[in-house]
């Protein structure tokens, strides 16, 4: 229980190397993975655009993003509250996208471009 007890002074003058992670990911391995997926999406980009290529391109982008967030930004080691914050961002953006989609993308254009 003693680690849980933090007086306010501790909160003000936080000890200098301010991390309390229990481990570190192998950063180089993560970087190689990132480059690998990047190369994959680059190659796929030269094929004509279809549903499959789009899924591959943005699937790898999403996976790369999770790699960066989880390993480089150490989300892996953060408490649930931070996870909730990150997931809330996605929830809000998806809500926005699909709320607007019928009006902008799926709407029939009735304005003739100049």
């Amino acid at each position: 229980m003693d680690t849980q007890h933090i007086s306010q002074n501790d909160a003000v003058h936080f000890p200098e190397p301010a991390t309390d992670y229990h481990g570190h990911p192998n950063y180089l391995k993560v970087l190689i993975f990132l480059f690998g997926f990047f190369a994959l999406s680059l190659v796929v980009g030269y094929f004509p655009l279809s549903l499959v290529t789009v899924i591959v391109i943005f699937g790898t982008a999403l996976y790369k993003a999770t790699l960066v967030v989880k390993n480089f930004m150490h989300l892996k080691y953060e408490p649930v509250l931070i996870w909730i914050a990150v997931i809330a961002v996605f929830f809000c953006l998806i809500a926005f996208f699909f709320g607007v989609y019928p009006d902008i993308t799926a709407a029939k254009l009735d304005v003739v471009p100049r």
Partner: protein, 201 residues
């Protein structure tokens, strides 16, 4: 025991600087996410934007992705060194990361120069005069998204530079991590901008 428990603070174990950074990053991601959502909504509405996207330089974009991914790696190495109180390495890795940011901006500058010299500007009057008004909207988005991202690159470099100045004197080493987190966010946004603007044609 019960009494002791009620006395303790069930704090979530995040130092306040890092917590604030997460909140800031969530806010920034909402700004960029909203912008990307707007772009996607229009992109799906106008398949003809593919013709405009063909004019972006995949080579420079790919180069910039490599630069940003690598500098993201070096900044996390700086953070690792900061944990070991290895000041020299902190300064080295941070300098490499700032150099990566500079390289990114130089590439971006070359890219912008080429595009502008071909008449693709923020409002692209040359496309509008040619009747391709919808195409000009692509370039508005392109310059706004990459420009806003570029502004964040500059901000990230300034933050890393300040952390470097502190780290040289062995002060405020936790700032290395915070500056690094901001830099990862810049990288994160680019991970999405690159396929949106350069690959998916």
């Amino acid at each position: 025991m019960e009494n002791q428990r009620s006395l303790s603070v069930p704090i979530i174990r995040v130092p306040q600087g890092r917590l604030a950074m997460w909140v800031l990053i969530a806010g920034e991601l909402m700004i960029f996410g909203g912008l990307i959502a707007c772009y996607l909504l229009y992109r799906l509405r106008y398949p003809e934007w593919a013709d405009q996207a063909a004019h972006t330089s995949t080579l420079i974009g790919a180069l910039n992705t490599i630069v940003l991914l690598t500098s993201s790696f070096t900044v996390v190495k700086a953070h690792e060194a900061a944990n070991k109180m290895d000041l020299k390495k902190v300064v080295l890795w941070l300098s490499v990361s700032i150099g990566g940011g500079l390289l990114f901006l130089v590439n971006k500058g070359i890219e912008y120069t080429t595009e502008i010299s071909h008449g693709f500007t923020f409002s692209s009057p040359h496309l509008q005069a040619g009747g391709d008004t919808i195409g000009s909207l692509f370039w508005s988005f392109y310059f706004f998204m990459t420009g806003l991202h570029g502004a964040h690159v500059i901000a990230g470099m300034v933050v890393m530079f300040l952390a470097l100045l502190n780290a040289r004197k062995g002060k405020n080493l936790h700032r290395v991590e915070l500056a690094g987190m901001y830099w990862h966010m810049v990288d994160l946004i680019w991970i999405f901008l690159f396929p949106l603007l350069y690959i998916a044609k």
